[in-house]
Amino acid sequence: MALDPVWRGDEREMLEYNPREIMAITAGRMVKNGDVIFCGTGLAQIAATVAKKMYAPESIIFFETGGIDAELPELPLSVSDLRIMYRTSVNAGLLESFSILSHRKVHSKAFLGAAQIDRFGNLNSTCMGDYWHPSVRFSGSGGACDAACLAAEVIIFMEHEKRRFVNKVDYLTSPGWLSGADAREKAGLHRGGPTAVVTNLGVMRFDEKTKEMYLSEYHSGVTPRQIQDTTGFEVDISRAVRSKPITEEELRVLREDVDPQKLII
């Protein structure tokens, strides 16, 4: 449990939350009205729903399986959960969904997680070790690589651990800024790319020119130095500011309205 001091009346009290809660709320704050969110499940789903309830009621959630603008009366547990098929704008299929993800009129914003990330925001969700003889095999890309290549913007979730923030990903499943600077453009990807990495310790962003990750915000109870020590590569911490504290209202909505069954949080 992290602790964050908040003002309640004249009394200064400590607000308690877990790492997943602060990640969901931080990412939820990044959604704007008009965003069309390409949503996975788990934390991505929670963040998107928090956003819709609190910050961006005019944002739209869609799933790669074809559920477009679902009402979501209950939390889905996968992108093929029946709950994403209920009272949608359109129930379609994958082809239609990918046409929305890559549509030039749409500001598609994808939420992605992964097992590993490097300093240019490239992601691995395929395997640890050699591809042909992996020490651990994961699920594979699914639609993650598609979102990383084609969405207008990508926001990444990562638990902040040294083994996850690595110098080089074992397998590059989903392209971020590749080797930095204009490498993404040169590879043929003309839009998109990751803009933020939301972790339990803070928010990392990418330098405009070099596309290298830097520390943008750190949560209360954490120092920039600690974040550097938990990251497997050198990070610029000189631009970091303290993040806006979580409010009681944000926690209430998250716990009571978004995930009352505590399926994810």
Binding site: S80, N91, L95, Y131, R137, S141, D146, P175
Partner: protein
């Protein structure tokens, strides 16, 4: 047709099979169980994102090669357990694509063209790392390479495009809500990529919740997705996607899936699971009796929602 006849007639050792459904919905489980019971071997499987049926087929030793984008069950298993073990042990050959690429490959197959173009996967390892061995590339129905990049032939500017090869399997297996006596198919909820998967295969086997008169489906033809003459076999198997879900009919069986994930981690427990839930069962009716009326009612869809609100899912 019965499940037994459908598998005997359309699936041989070494068959190339595309499977419909997605992760935890509309997996054609009943026919997957029958394939395992008939101990089919060396299957070559094509899926975009798949879960339970794929994991059981792999765990039971039916699969030799797999082309996929994702093998997992969402919150019920972030990676399919028997798939993970088979890859780590080198028991199967695998080739990774993305969901969009697999969808386009099925689509190309359905249109009778050899490949489709996309911008996805540029810059990724999916583009540069081939899973299949060079000798596999020479085998029946296997593409000569994983994919290739070319420049847009309609532009003088530098614009890279990825070409992905069509899929034309021997058989497609789809589980739908309704099929008419003549074969017209209706899928409710999301159709996913099932229409393209159905059309790309040489033979199409549809399992369904209900067989209904053709005239009933023709009252609302807008809701139908495949014409009757494309279907080669129809098998009625109520709850035929259990423990995965089927919109308007039943939710996923969260208890069963959570139990399965734990069992699948241990080789001996998994073998016992197969004995108990697949080999030791002679018919779909017997399977449903084993699941039990209590559980089937717990997951039964509420018609106002298409799923089961308040289902215990933890």
């Amino acid at each position: 047709m019965t499940l037994k006849e459908a598998v005997t007639t359309f699936i041989k050792d070494g068959s190339h099979i595309a499977i419909g459904g997605f992760v935890c919905t509309r997996n054609p489980m009943a026919i997957a169980y029958e394939i395992i019971r008939q101990r089919k071997k060396n299957l070559h499987i094509y899926v975009h994102s798949h879960g339970q049926a794929l994991d059981l087929l792999i765990g039971a030793g039916c699969v030799r090669r797999l082309e996929l984008a994702y093998a997992g069950m969402g919150r019920f298993a972030s990676t399919c357990v028997r798939f993970r073990k088979a890859v780590q042990n080198g028991d199967i050959e695998w080739e990774d694509y993305t969901n969009y690429e697999m969808t386009l490959r099925f689509f190309a197959g359905s249109l009778g063209i050899p490949f489709m173009a996309t911008k996805t996967s540029l810059g990724s390892d999916i583009l540069v790392k081939e899973g299949f061995r060079p000798e596999t590339r020479k085998e029946y129905k296997v593409a000569s390479k994983k994919l290739t990049i070319m420049n847009n032939p309609f532009s003088d500017e530098d614009e890279k495009i990825v070409l992905v090869p069509a899929i034309n399997p021997d058989v497609a297996l789809i589980h739908a809500q309704y099929v008419s006596e003549e074969g017209t198919v209706r899928i409710e909820g999301l159709s996913l990529t099932d229409v393209e998967i159905a059309k790309c295969a040489d033979k199409l086997v549809i399992t369904c919740e209900e067989i209904v008169p053709e005239s009933y489906l023709r009252q609302n033809p807008d809701m139908n997705c495949l014409p009757h003459f494309l279907v080669d076999a129809i098998v009625a198997v109520p709850y035929g996607a259990h423990p995965t879900s089927c919109f308007n009919f039943y939710d996923y069986d969260a208890k069963h899936l959570n139990m399965y994930r734990k069992i699948a981690e241990n080789d001996r427990n998994f073998t016992e699971y197969l004995d108990e839930w697949v080999y030791g069962i002679s018919s779909h009716e017997e399977y449903l009796a084993k699941v039990g009326i209590g559980r089937l009612l717990q997951i039964k869809a509420n018609p106002a929602f298409g799923f089961r609100p308040g289902l215990e899912r933890g």
